[in-house]
Symmetry: C2
């Protein structure tokens, strides 16, 4: 039995020991940097003494600053959603953003950021901690989706944008989008959430757990302190293979790959053999040096912890307040934490020692807690789900629409697509996904 796939892993290991190191700092270029020197207090109590937010923009901000759309990325997305003069490479939403397109840059000023915790320009584990002069690695503070959103709003403050025309996102971007609309409702005019959820289901936590375990089990991971050595590329490749199965499996694979083999005249092999296997191998190989392993850990953990329930939001706000007090920035930071007064008005009633998880137990308690969590999100809303999505199944999309409606939002549109690309449909199906977004953003009735 031959193992060409193992040969290749070992060869790359040798190359990496000798050669240049990770490419992810070079993957994205041509972005703008917003540097914020105000300490940023995270939901779980960690503090970033300063923060960079990488962003790109398209279109022009109008005179009354009312035409801005914020695009939120998925787990490993960069700010490069579309090509532009400083970076001509196609962006991850190239066909969705542009003049006359679904997100029309003739009408709107479109902004996309790299989330904090990421590795494409924004402050993340790969960044140097100014307090130590060393990269954060796994000393980086735990992040939540709301931390990512609050960092984005600091950027919007810097750009002079108080209220967005719309907040738009898919996958983890949909979590951010929902979070922005629910926790910062005065800043979000319209909401678009695609293939996301109101709280992560144990099944999706399980799948991300398996990915993180694959990564952390790589001997090169070294508890996150790998920046001076060989990257945990094998673990990253495994993690990505699992992720790709959850992103892309759907009827498409049956049509595209079926049971066809790479080399039908050769005997079956344990290394990639069926076309679906060579596809996964290629996809994960390409990814494994383009994204920072520590970013994968932190950002995927933030997805696991996402829960828009009111009890969770309140407890996290209380933790943040507590941490800010410790920092000696009490007044300034509490004010920021409680920008949304209605969410935080009862902070003083909450114990500060809890850790940001809902205590709701019954189905009804869970639903009521979720409904209370989105009670301020009264914006016109588009919720879009894809029937072949196994990672964020339509059941979770229906839940988002339902809790918004039960909370009193009378302008919720819910679409369910019979598309074949699974979770990644939002990246591919410009005809259906694009039209739904365009209709929602430009609707004037």
């Amino acid at each position: 039995m031959d193992f060409p796939c193992i040969d290749r892993l070992e060869m790359r290991q040798r190359d990496l020991m000798a050669g240049p190191e990770p490419t992810y700092e070079k993957v994205v270029t041509g972005y703008e940097l917003f540097h914020d020197s105000t300490p940023f207090v995270c939901d779980h109590g960690g503090v970033l003494p300063q923060m960079d937010v990488a962003y790109e923009s398209w279109g022009r901000l109008n005179a009354d600053r009312s035409n801005a759309i914020l695009i939120h990325t998925g787990l490993s997305g960069s700010s490069h959603a579309r090509s532009h003069a400083k970076n001509s490479r196609p962006g991850w939403w190239e066909k969705f953003i542009g003049p006359g397109l679904a997100i029309d840059t003739d009408r709107f000023f479109v902004v996309c950021t790299n989330v904090i915790g990421g590795c494409y320009g924004s402050t993340g584990p790969w960044s140097v901690n100014p307090a130590t002069g060393q990269r954060y690695a796994t000393t980086f503070p735990l992040l939540t989706v709301n931390d990512m959103v609050r960092a984005q709003f600091r950027l919007l403050d810097h750009l002079g944008i108080h209220k967005l025309h719309a907040s738009v996102g898919a996958s983890m971007g949909g979590m951010q989008s929902l979070c922005a609309a629910a926790l910062h409702p005065e800043r979000v005019g319209r909401l678009v959430t695609i293939s996301a959820c109101a709280r992560s289901h144990p099944y999706s936590i399980a799948l991300r757990f398996a990915q993180r375990q694959a990564l952390m089990a790589d001997p090169n991971f070294r508890r996150g302190f790998y920046y001076d050595g060989v990257q945990p590329h094998v673990g990253m490749k495994l993690a990505r293979a699992v992720a790709t199965v959850t992103y892309r499996s759907g009827p498409e694979w049956e049509l595209r790959f079926g049971r066809r083999r790479r080399a039908p005249d050769q005997p079956p092999a344990l290394c990639p053999d069926f076309l679906i296997e060579t596809y996964l191998d290629h996809q994960s190989e390409r990814f494994c040096l383009q994204y920072d392993a520590n970013s994968l850990l932190y950002v995927s953990k933030a997805m696991d912890m996402f829960d828009i329930s009111q009890s969770v939001t309140r407890r996290l706000a209380a933790q943040r307040e507590h941490a800010a007090a410790d920092l000696g920035h009490e007044l300034a930071t509490t004010a920021a934490a409680c920008a949304n007064v209605s969410v935080c008005m009862n902070i003083e009633d909450q114990p500060a020692s809890t850790t940001g998880h809902s205590q709701a137990e019954t189905e009804d308690e869970i639903a009521q807690d979720l409904i209370a969590g989105v009670r301020n999100a009264k914006q016109p809303t588009l919720v879009l789900g894809v029937q072949s999505d196994i990672l964020f199944p339509v059941k979770q999309q229906r839940e988002i629409a339902e809790i918004l409606r039960r909370a009193g939002n009378e302008r919720v549109t819910y679409y369910e697509l019979d598309a074949m690309y699974g979770h990644d449909t939002f990246l591919i199906d410009v005809v259906n996904v694009g039209a739904a977004i365009k209709g929602h953003l430009e609707n004037t009735t």
Copy 2:
């Protein structure tokens, strides 16, 4: 950030370097061994010079030897389906087999084997190759599901059982069961197939691919030649975590674990934190030293290759004939290969160089090839699917029922369960799964 899960992996690594080696040879005891010294020619041309088949049995064979039921296992199952005098540990189908139970040992003589390629007594990669005096490891020949079934029929010959009352299996066991009924119809009186498929879908291949890659990427795997050193337990643990997600995810997890955490008063962690994570960690930890890594590779690969299409069956039979001729056992083995004359009658028309994969391309060609592949399976048949199964979705169960019916089988019963345990429902839901089996096995109309 602490990494207690990595600490534990490293500690076990150290223990294993010093301590006793794999437990899988000790997991199952008290089985019988059928030793067959006739060379066994495999579908892909490999030859086992001799072969052991481990089996256990319950109940008594009746005078005309007509009451035997063969139980086929899933991927990692042993012959220990039920406890007995020589091994009192509960078997994997303890509640399904026994006096008065679904598979009633007062009526039937029930046999279960460990598949060849496994590690629980039957010849597999862990066995010593008599030609070299060394363990096969990855010099073991590639296996197919039909190889497993043909080995089981050799055991039945030895036991003096020509025709089974029924062939019963779930998951890979359902593949074996369908294979037995379709390719050896004269030996199978009734067919039960649960949560199986007529051909593996690229999605399930992708999931098994990810597991095999995790295993092979473990530095201790050493291309399968690890028996003298530390086992690739980390890779096995990762593989099992991914597998468990595919086996058990379903509505059950939402009820059983929800979003509850191991230690709600502690801050979130990157190591197992949510209860679903500690569950997966525990499950995979328990498994990783109880099953041989090479067996996982060979048996899961056989599952990927499973395709009951006529063109595949014919090509594999031609390969087998070719290999038997090379061996100098031409007459004897060709006769065995063509025990089912109708399947093999056109062998001479088939090129011997093809490799056992269907060339059918269009949906209609695929369906016709599958229908032709099961055209001799006219037994009363029960096909059972579970709506929450993501690994072998109900679409695949409907396909089995449909091709059998279109091939002219007028006694196909198709049940679809709204059960909450996903793929593993067949191991758990004795009320519904058990009743369906019992009704089918004992029906005299």
